[in-house]
Amino acid sequence: MFRSIEFINMRLLKIILGITAVGIPGFFGIKEIIADPVYFMELFLGGLTRGSIYALIALGYTMVYGIIQLINFAHGEIYMIGAMTALIVASVLGLWGWNSAVIAILAFVFAIVYSCAYGFTVEKIAYKPLRNAPRLSALISAIGMSLFLQNYVMLAQTPNFLPFESLIPDFEFWEPFAHIITAVEMTIIVTTVITMILLGILIKFTKIGKAMRATAQDKVMASLVGINVNNVISTTFVVGSATAAIGGVLIACHVGQINFFIGFLAGLKAFIAAVLGGIGSVPGAVLGSLVLGISESLFTGYFWSEYEDVFAFTILVIILIFRPSGILGKHEISKV
């Protein structure tokens, strides 16, 4: 009987906490929205943009976790390498005086190819030899890889911020809406949506996509039907790296400057988003990213902008306490 009372109290506590958490900001929120709807829209769309970038990175975390139960902490660096590659390609081609549309396309292509190559190599060097080692070893290896890549780029390029000239033009037809959402932000959202749809098709309908899901569910059985598990794992890293590279180039266009360190915080935020959505779940990563991006944007707009990062990490702590499996995550089912 004592236990049941405890159980009810716990539930009650959760409900009260939930109502407070949603209700108070909700109440003030609605007041604010009515007072200045344009400002709200700006913040909302800004958050959507931010969330899109998180989503592009978070996919890599969640897919890799789904398949080998590893948090790939070097993933943020892959995103940074994507942005760096685009910067180098765009600068060189710009010097040669190439057409800006051609530069934009080539910068994206090179960024994706380079990031994929790095993602593939990182897995082969840092994780594959540890496939049967305890999970902690691979995690430490991931952190080591992250530090290595940061410092490698710092030494090979520069520790300073480099200006990144936007590859995306300010479309003229977009002028009338530009005060709410800029052309770059719009491009980010549209590109993300297209990437998500393509990725969804890849995972749901193609042979390799089904093999990825099968491998995530049961690696031994996957090899018993003839799937080369190592190839599938490599493919997962490559696909995740490609979306991260797209995110890297887009955010660089948006922010206008990059350095060797941008992958660290972006990677952590995307990781929070993936956990928020339910790590291992692809729709969860997208949902978690959008929720995190929008709430972060509203928080900084209406409350304290200096506490942006604190807010994100507070969310991480709250999820880990109250719902460790995330919004869409499944509770771990032990194998029969």
């Binding site: 042979k207 089904k210 093999a211 899901r213 099968a214 569910q217 049961d218 031994v220 059985m221 996957a222 090899s223 018993l224 039907v225 003839g226 799937i227 080369n228 598990v229 029969v336």
Partner: protein, 236 residues
Amino acid sequence: MMLKLTDINTYYGNIHALKGINLEVSEGEIISLIGANGAGKSTTLMTTSGIVPAKRGTVIFKGQDITHVSPDKIVKMGICQVPEGRRIFPYLTVAENLDMGAFLRDDKDKIKDDIDYVYTLFPILADRRNQQGGTLSGGEQQMLAISRALMSKPKVLLLDEPSLGLAPIIVRQIFDIIKKINEEHKTTIFIVEQNANLALKAAHRGYVMENGVITLTDTGENLLSNEDVKKAYLGI
């Protein structure tokens, strides 16, 4: 000789699971391997499939040494396993599970014919084709597991405990299908079973295993009437 295991020694870490197994399977045969829990029956199949490669000894398939060949290549050569516990992909649909069985094949039209064929073998699967594998009952999962293995067009089918946890009527149905597959397609079948009576009745030849060694081998009928086997495994 279809499949020949010579002096197989397999270890899990320090545990010596198989201690010099010798075993032969001829083309078109049904072979049963019986024995108690932990005798090494499943390990024998896992070693054949390349999941837990042997430390010493050789596995020869159609004259080729496959002892250290990777599991996916072994499937490609024509040895397919239905593992213990069925191991259906729980979040893939029935149809997707069958697609995975045909992972190594490129002949799309024939894959379709084969899917239709397994649906005639097990009509219940056709009704459930869009349902997630994890939602099927134990018997349906076993049917799906066998169907998935058939999708790879195996020359040798390895079955690990096909009767495990199933109702007797379902078990009989599954063994009938196994015999049918053997007769119609000349598929060589290698069954590992704890249900010795059933397995030996279905088999042409049988092996008895104890603590990682083969202790007895004979035709299925002879083993059924063997006094030791009767006492130890048939409970007569």
